[in-house]
Amino acid sequence: MTLTSSTETLTTEPKPGAERGGRRARRFLSRISGAIVVLWGAATAAFLAQAALPGDRATAIFNIRAGQAQERTPAELAPIVDAFGLDDPLLLQYLHYIGALLRGDLGTSYQQFRPVWDLIGEQLGSTLILTVTGIALAWLVMVSWVTLTAGRGARLKNIGSAVDTVTASLPPYWLGILLLLVFALWLGWFPVMGGGGLAGIVLPALTLAIPLAGFMGQAVRAEYERTLDQPFVLSARMRGMGDLGIRIRHVLRHASLPAVTLTGWALGATISGAVIVEQIYSRPGIGKTLVSAVGAQDLPVVTGVVVLVAALYVVANVLVDVAYTLIDSRLRTS
């Protein structure tokens, strides 16, 4: 076990010297091009989704706006065809859409005839606060749980990883209801309806945090136990460092790398989980806007959220790269 783990680390260690600089530059370039591809892919998918609305688009938009379903005369439809440029060839519409996106214009809502950015923008702050609190809580829960249970004998290890597996698969709609029932209705520790205060965010954030913590825990636990066998841990022990100190200062630092990667990836999932959580706790946020837009087939609003989440994903992954170099000094350039 010890033998295989030490050879594994050796092979993943970066090679010294000039080769490392070249590799970093290439990695950086591939990251940038990857980010652009993600954003372009999201924008194209968003456009295609709008174009794929079944039936005549002008009629569909008119009916979504009026909340009815009936045939319209060309005269009635003319202002809509005009406003959305529906007479243009598809390629031109696509270029218009991309051009508008580059200027930060996400389009106009079919339902409310307001700019999508206004609709989402006023709700986004609340959702982002919930998401970031949820991710921070997830780290806190995961680090405490893994530090308490990893590398402390087979029984604790089994309990620890079983809890990871179960929590990782809890759907937010059920977990949210469970926490609401136990802590708000039964024990009365927190308000039932979210509310804006600090007490109101605890349960919604925990609903997002617990599955994410389990998910990250699954990735961290194996690495954590492998790191406990590393020579530098032994040398820290020989210097007389306490067990908890070693676990937090040395082991956690290395073992947390997979969780850092997962956090960047999970940001989008956490935002969309927030949509469900906001429904359960009646919290303000993009949830209500998004769900009613999906129900009404108000595509510009839905695709607006998709494009925003893509942008946040890209930003999060840049932050993940930075965090990597801060945590693992072996990756830092000289």
Binding site: G34, V37, V38, G41, A42, A45, A49, A52, L53, P54, T165, V166, S169, L170, P171, P172, Y173, W174, I177, L178, L180, L181, L185, W265, G268, A269, I271, S272, G273, V275, I276, Q279, I280, L290, V291, A293, V294, G295, Q297, D298, L299, V302, T303, V305, V306, V309, A310, Y313
Partner: protein, 280 residues
């Protein structure tokens, strides 16, 4: 593998642990419920009893009753068929799409494999729920949409898996041996690479089934899937939300059923996977 290793592997495979047994029992129960619901359910799922409305779980009604006195246990049992059909449909779409895309990504020409791999990665970057919501807003909310939306949104994750399996099977020792023996690339592909890449998908499909039901129920919960008169598990959960203060069991129990099914499917799937890995 030495003789002792083989002996140990067979012995541990023959032993059934309690978690696996419980999972198999749960899945078997729901399968029976889906095929012959009347056999298991104590009451008719639509039998009204207004004098027994919103009763908590008791011996007469194990899961309690809803606002018009319908027995929740019977509704859960009768909802199994629709829930499982949606789950099977979505998991089927996901796995078939994953096999096609994963094979193209791993074995296509240079351009095809680069484009498909990149596309899989880009779509994979998006949260499953958001993709599903996008598809629902194009197609309109219905049970069919739920199947398509969940199947398509979960496909990229499985496609990555298939691609990885094929690539690792392609580089395995036995392929090298077959190549050294002068077998044709096509024969190596159909006889060695694909079987070894696709066999693990039995395990993946089982897990996908559980996950599909979780995602589909999420859509119903948001009111964007099967509508409440149906007793699909997500729809039950959504319908129960209005009574969360007076009758918490109406939301707690359907949610628990979804989680139990998903956990059981995941447990069985990962056990199949372990056995396949051990067997190789």
């Amino acid at each position: 593998m030495t003789v002792i290793d083989v002996a140990r592997a067979t012995r541990s495979r023959a032993r059934l642990d309690p978690a696996l047994l419980a999972s198999l029992a749960a899945v078997a129960f729901f399968l029976v419920a889906a095929v012959v619901p009347g056999f298991l359910s104590p009451h008719a799922p639509t039998a009204l009893a207004l004098d027994e409305a919103l009763e908590p779980p008791s011996f007469a009604h194990w899961f309690g009753t809803d606002q018009i006195g319908r027995d929740l246990l019977s509704r859960v049992i009768h909802g199994a068929r629709e829930s499982l059909l949606i789950g099977f449909g979505a998991a089927g779409i996901a796995i078939v799409a994953a096999i096609v895309l994963g094979t193209l990504a791993a074995l296509g020409g240079r351009v095809v494999s680069a484009v498909v791999s990149r596309a899989i990665e880009v779509v994979f970057a998006f949260p499953i729920l958001l993709l599903a919501l996008l598809l629902v807003s194009i197609l309109g909310a219905s049970a069919w949409t739920q199947v398509i939306a969940v199947g398509v949104s979960t496909a990229p994750g499985y496609a990555r898996m298939v691609r990885g399996q094929i690539l690792s099977a392609k580089n395995a020792g036995y392929v090298e041996a077959a190549r050294a023996l002068g077998h044709s690339p096509r024969r190596i592909l159909t006889n060695h690479v694909l079987p070894n890449a696709i066999r693990p998908l039995v395990a993946v499909f089982t897990m996908a089934l559980g996950q599909s039901i979780v995602w589909a129920s999420g859509l119903s919960f948001l009111g964007l899937g099967v509508a409440p008169p149906s007793s699909e598990w997500g729809a039950l959960l959504d319908a129960g939300r209005a009574f969360i203060m007076q009758a918490p069991w109406l939301t707690f129990i359907p949610g628990l059923i979804i989680v139990v099914f998903a956990l059981a499917a995941t447990t069985i799937g990962s056990r199949i996977q372990q056995n396949l890995e051990k067997g190789e």
